[in-house]
Amino acid sequence: MKRFLPLLLVFVFVGTLGAQNNQIVVQAQGIKKMRVAMPTFAGPADLTVPTWAQIKKDIEITGVFELIDPKAYLNQGPVGALAQANLKDYALIGADFLITGSIERMGTNATLRLEAAEVATGRVISRYAYRQPANILYGSVHDFMDRFLKDALGLGAIFSSRIVAVQKTGGAKVLYTCWADGSAGQAIIKGRPGDLVLSPAWSPDGQRIAFVSYARGNPDLYLYQLFPPKIMPLSTYRGLNSAPAFLPRERKIAATLSKDGNQDIYIMDLSGGHLNRLTTAWGIDTSPSFAPDGRFMAFCSDSGGSPQIYRMDLSSRGIQRLTFQGRKNSEPVYSPRGDMIAFTHMGADGRFRIAVMQADGSGFKVLHPDFAIEEESPSFSPDGRLLVYAGSDGNLYICDLYGSKPVRITSDGGRYSQPCWGPLVR
């Protein structure tokens, strides 16, 4: 038998070679988002309506889903569970997924049940129930949306994270924080009228926020610890202490200091000691941002005559200019994936736009060249797929990296700026 086995294998191999090669290539005609249908939820309207609206907003924020207009549904609801839904009704309108929900009030608490299914097959993708005080149901929605993103498309979580920004209110600027979709926003640090609080930056673990404050009449750097709440001075050198940025893998922070007569970037530990100067060229060097592997630092410098983006190799201290387009390029931020840099770009028309490029400076692209509202101060989401930025109308927006329409996450009239997207809240 062993003598015949090679011969047998030859015959099998030849046979497979001779098998008919049936190859078909299908080329897409365009690009589209996954379509989600979501009829109204079952339960008390004071709870179901805002919950449904929050999920609708989160669906838009994802950048990969779009909600089918409920007016197109054969059954607009309420539909409390998948078992009550006829999937064919939603298949007819081209839905890829169906989300149903129900809320049951129990005193001050509420039980929220959410389900999601793939319409074509009826396969249940997500089925979760939450029991919480009724006034914080938004947290359950964040958890469900993160799980739905993972269960349906294998994407990373984004909604269980927070954004810190500067809010101008009552003649003063305060530190403001909210969840990624803009829910539960509140001021966390308030100064006296006339105080300025600027340039917030999250630590990699999400436990601290570094910021600049003029509380002492000088732009000083402070560290705000969330739990237990505590504010500590970090850098109070005479002159400028600004643009804080945490290093990704070390308990250190970078900032722009002018203590030596020129605005340069320094690295210090979280107590403010062990100062290490990184840039020495004349001109203003500011807005440091570090690659997730800690090898490179992107920053803004006007040493070339106008504010442009540069990249420093932290081991060799070699500097490479990355941007040459437009009038100015500033506020660079590294993607958590390390492959891209987003920044504020001023074009020839003098308008500010968010632009992105590859980490080596190639692939320059303005995201919304025709958007009426100007854009600045971008910050990446924890998974690197989305950006939050400040619009010239004073609101915060979230967008993807491919130019689709941004989603506004603030709407209470506050003038928001300098957002920073923090890590996932564990």
Binding site: N22, Q23, I24, V25, I31, K33, E118
Partner: protein, 224 residues
């Protein structure tokens, strides 16, 4: 051993007999298809010549009109006397009728062209190819109706995901599996979701097979 010898001798005998029969059969004079008659084609002797030895009774007069058709030849032979004679027939007329009896020649079909491609002028293989091409175009249109490249993926021209589907003779998709991923989970998932929407394709041209496997490769839009 003794029995083996017997079998060998018997086998040799049968072989010899078999080949001998073949040779014998081949060597025999073939039976003529038609009766052979001795025909004297020389002119009749002059009266009073000594060659008139044997008197020959006048042969029955065969109708002088030209014999047309083999069946008429057989009838003419059937009315002859014991010493039949064979009157030569009008070969030209006979060949003309035989030509008419043959089935008419098939006209060459004209070559046709269409936007789908040139139709074959002849031959079954070219026609099968056309059927396959038409089926492929229908399948491509079917998939394009349910799938487009997804948002949220950096679209590059070398991005592609290949799935293997098993299609029954009636077009029903029996199974599907990812053969080669694109490297982007969202892109692969979008293809999988689109495939889930299709349960049946146009019946494939797979002949007598019960089912066949096809590899479908999904690529991004042109210009990416």
């Amino acid at each position: 051993m003794k029995s083996l010898r017997v079998y060998v001798i018997l086998s040799l005998f049968l072989h010899v007999a078999f080949f001998g029969a073949i040779i014998f059969t081949a060597s025999r004079k073939p039976r003529p298809v038609y009766d052979i008659y001795d025909v004297s084609i020389v002119a009749a002797p002059a009266p009073g010549s000594q060659m008139q030895g044997r008197s020959v009774e006048p042969r029955p007069r065969v109708p002088s009109r030209a014999v047309k058709g083999f069946e008429q030849i057989a009838k003419a032979q059937a009315v002859k006397d014991k010493t039949p004679s064979f009157k030569p027939i009008d070969l030209e007329n006979a060949s003309g009728r035989s030509k008419a009896a043959e089935p008419p020649e098939m006209e060459e079909p004209e070559e046709q062209t269409s936007s789908a491609g040139a139709y074959p002028s002849a031959g079954p293989s070219a026609g099968a190819r056309v059927k396959v091409n038409m089926w492929v175009a229908e399948v491509q249109a079917t998939f394009r109706s349910v799938w487009q490249a997804p948002y949220g993926v950096p679209i590059k021209k070398d991005l592609k995901a290949s799935f293997t589907i098993r299609v029954a003779r009636n077009g029903e998709i029996l199974s599907k599996r990812l053969l080669l991923g694109s490297g982007n989970a969202l892109y692969d998932k979008s293809v999988e979701l689109a495939l889930n929407k299709i349960r049946k394709l146009p019946p494939p041209p797979i002949g007598g097979e019960a089912a066949a496997d096809y590899t479908i490769t999904f690529i991004p839009p042109a210009g990416s």
